[in-house]
Symmetry: C2
Subunit: 188 residues, 2 copies
DNA sequence: AACCTAAAGTTCGAAGCTAAACATTACATC
DNA sequence: GATGTAATGTTTAGCTTCGAACTTTAGGTT
């Protein structure tokens, strides 16, 4: 039921210190900018650790990370907290097939309901139940404490700087499509 | 063979703009610092996009991301590029069972070899083949171009700042263990 | 030496995902 | 109105992972 897949990484990080890893990269692959690699490696590690933390928290609440993601998409869509499986799948980066199964489970657990859209009978409407909404809130409370702790050592100015820099990277990947060679090219 | 799981996200990002998502969080969950949420959301999205890019690249080379990760761990360990399944599993955050299967596949594809350690016959030694090493190098060449492009809009100073800020976050998660309440506490 | 315990991998069964084939419904065009 | 086509979900088969049970080897204890 709960997605504890990441607990393993939690128990045994097993990775060498970041500096050491950068050095290893330099040793095995010379034409690599250490500054770039540092950013990229830190990003990916950080994300892995965060996911481990989230997994642990949602597991404590008796739901999986996967289920939390669905609840998140539904709740953030605003009242009345409904969405079709197709759009949910797109939002979460899943295949429609996976979404069908996930919704099956969540319906069985009482987190969401599924009904046909009578105005267009091909469509299906997934809606968060009060229980599901409460679970999402519980998870958010835990997550916000963790996130606040994570950024604790950064001043408000540093947080702002970090947010801006990350946003600029994000804009670059989101507003660009890789060309044939995998290179990012601007769209405008 | 190739892990194209993430291509789906690539084709259909489907997520609302970051600003919009932050606003939705504010609407549905008031006690949340928007500055914190911006950093966290950007981090997680950025990572997802990067993984999509890496998946596409490794798929082009005829290997999966999963296999690339194994090659990475082996090569970065330094010559003679060997490691036991157990340590590999720890390094990648997998169960030993998953590692066994992954190595099965990679042996079949000629990326690594597997042999018993004769000095301690419980142990097994996984070693990168020349083909595997070449694949890793190919993947690194693609990855480094992508990463350089990703950071293109940032000045050298900004890259440095970003690296330092991320490293500080990383140190906070890596050198701390969550206490009973999931809060991060210093170890020293 | 015989036994216990720990460590390292593998095997087994269940869960969750993907891709592809398959319904079902809506809608445009004839 | 009949038919072709696109859109939306579901079903099916196969793959990868996990957790847990199991096998083999090493090393300490009596």
């Amino acid at each position: 039921m709960a997605d504890n897949s990441a607990d393993r990484t939690a128990a045994a990080p097993g990775e060498p210190p970041l500096e050491e890893q950068i050095a290893a990269y330099q040793r095995e692959f010379q034409d690599l900018d250490p500054q770039v690699e540092k950013v990229v490696s830190a990003l990916s590690r950080l994300n892995r650790r965060m996911n481990v933390a989230y997994s642990r928290q949602t597991a404590d609440l008796g739901i999986s990370n996967a289920e939390w993601e669905v609840l998140k998409a539904l709740v953030l869509s605003g009242a009345p907290y409904r969405m079709g499986p197709g759009e949910l799948a797109k939002r979460l980066g899943l295949t429609p097939a996976a979404m069908t199964h996930r919704i099956d489970r969540m319906v069985a657990e009482g987190l969401v309901t599924r009904e046909r859209d009578e105005s267009n009978r091909v469509r299906v409407i997934v809606e968060v139940t009060p229980v599901g909404r409460e679970k999402w809130l519980d998870a958010m409370r835990l997550a916000s404490v963790f996130e606040e702790d994570l950024l604790q050592d950064l001043s408000s100015g540093e947080r702002h700087t970090l947010g801006e820099l990350l946003t600029r990277l994000l804009i670059r990947v989101e507003h660009a499509q890789p060309d044939a060679g995998g290179r990012l090219t601007d769209l405008d």
